[in-house]
Amino acid sequence: MDKSYNAVMSRKNEIMKKALGIDYDKYKISEISFDYEMMMDDVGYSINEIADIQKQSKVGNTPLYYLSNITKLVRKYAAKGKGAKIYLKDEAANASGSFKARRASLSVYEALKKGYKGVIAATSGNYGAAVASQAAMRGLKCIIIQEVFDSKYIGQPEIVEKSRICDAMGAEVIMSSVGPELFYSLLSALEDTGYFNASLYTPYSIAGIETLGWEIVNQIRKLEGRDPDYIVVTHAGGGNITGTARGALKYKLEFKPLNNTEFIACSVDLTGLHMASDIDFNKKSFTTGHTGFGVPFAQWPDRADTPRNAARPLRYMDKYLTVTQGEVFYATEMLAALEGIERGPAGNTSLAGAINLAMNLDQDAIVVVQETEYTGAGKHPQAQLSFAQNNGIEILRGKPEDSINGKNIILPRNLSDFQYKEIDLQKLKISYLENLVANFPKVKMLEEDFEFLSNDINEDPKWIKEQIFNILIKMKEK
């Protein structure tokens, strides 16, 4: 068989169909629209059933801690009467050390049920460890494809650690140089093996996270007698906020909502660093949870390795904050110094956002930081900062907002230096619509398309029509 790049890419659709066991055509409404809820319903398990499957495989029921000391410190810097209570969902307690175990659990269970002999995932994140861990438990073979090193064979310590843990769980790790051709490696491996594509973006992967949102609302109700006001979610590919919000909303629907809950996405700002650059690759101190994934996946979810992406962040995002690398490292140090729990930096992105958010909220408000990840060699502020320093990046103290990605990392002097930025959701939604027009240039839009879009970006159909009209006018002018 011809295994050249073009030949493999041209067989993409048939390879994917075989490797996912999902017929996406079933959900098609038009060229543009598909029935998202029907696709999610076809996962076929209730939240309780998913929780049972996860319990079998050492996932879920993670502790929720009140961060009393961090809350105290936040109140020192907040205006009088301000400084919300901060809770932390300790997702590092899952089998593979992150919330990604929830995503992998259902996928690997499904792969086994459908008779696949193994699973494959292409990811440089904690998801690789999660799939490898679940596959180890279920007796399936596992291949993890990771972008690990630059053209000088140097790997960011965080990613190297992620290769190591996959290795430790017994997966075959295919470590690649920098480039989006990772997708070609994935297709090629799926074709060679006939294994299941445990993609991050299948309905199983998203449904697996719903238990996380469900548990948070349940735990906060038991402790506080009300619902969380804000759940802050580290945002990259969009699955985390989608699944968490869906689960929280399901709980609130089942047991009646007590008060409103907003879902806040938070990413590390990596503006200025190109994701496919061989040079910029090792200038990032964060390999996930950053704007390099967070922004494009919000602007167009269907750039994923599945025909339709089950992670659709704009449906659920109430706000989108960005924080700097320096703030996340500082928050990571805070968690260790004040709360006595040491966790990996990337997972603390939402903690940095929550600390800043809480400062502006009333003291009786409840903010939940929705994840943590394991720490260890490589996945540690000192490993990251000294690697950055060796790559010519200056480490300073000061106002993180003055930092320039790739040149320096500015660690706050104290909490008064924390200053998140907010990404304008309306602008993101317009970019989504621009991508829509670019992807379907000749398609005449139908009434059901506007209904789909209205759900998909959580906007009024009338506003959507106006924006599309404006986009088309701008295109004609060009």
Binding site: V160, R164, L411
Partner: protein
């Protein structure tokens, strides 16, 4: 000579620079797209030879032999003064808050 049965790392060039067609920055376009895989060496060989390996899950891969007994070298990094400072400052701040609260 490296003996058959040793745990080794190979490199496969999947795309030469001129074969990379994806939308890429210049610096990425001018280098090949390569992958590394570890496994048991299937025949005696020397570094740089084209060899076959058997991976952890029993798959055969062919590529250039680049390392014997590959291991992970990542660690907790070199000393960073700022992190020590931040840790001490934060504890001091909390101590002060607690003292003020105790005094009422």
């Amino acid at each position: 000579m490296i003996k058959k049965g040793e745990w080794v790392k190979i490199e496969k060039i999947l795309l030469k620079p001129e074969e990379r067609t994806a939308k890429l920055p210049e610096e990425t376009k001018k280098v090949p797209y390569v992958v590394h895989v570890n496994g048991y060496l299937q025949n005696d060989a020397e570094i740089g030879d084209e060899v076959t390996i058997l991976s952890r899950i029993g798959r055969l891969h062919t590529g250039k032999l680049i390392e014997v007994k590959p291991s992970f070298k990542h660690n907790f990094g070199d000393f960073i003064q700022h992190l020590v400072d931040i840790n001490i400052e934060l504890k001091k701040e909390l101590e002060e808050i607690n003292e003020i609260q105790q005094r009422g």
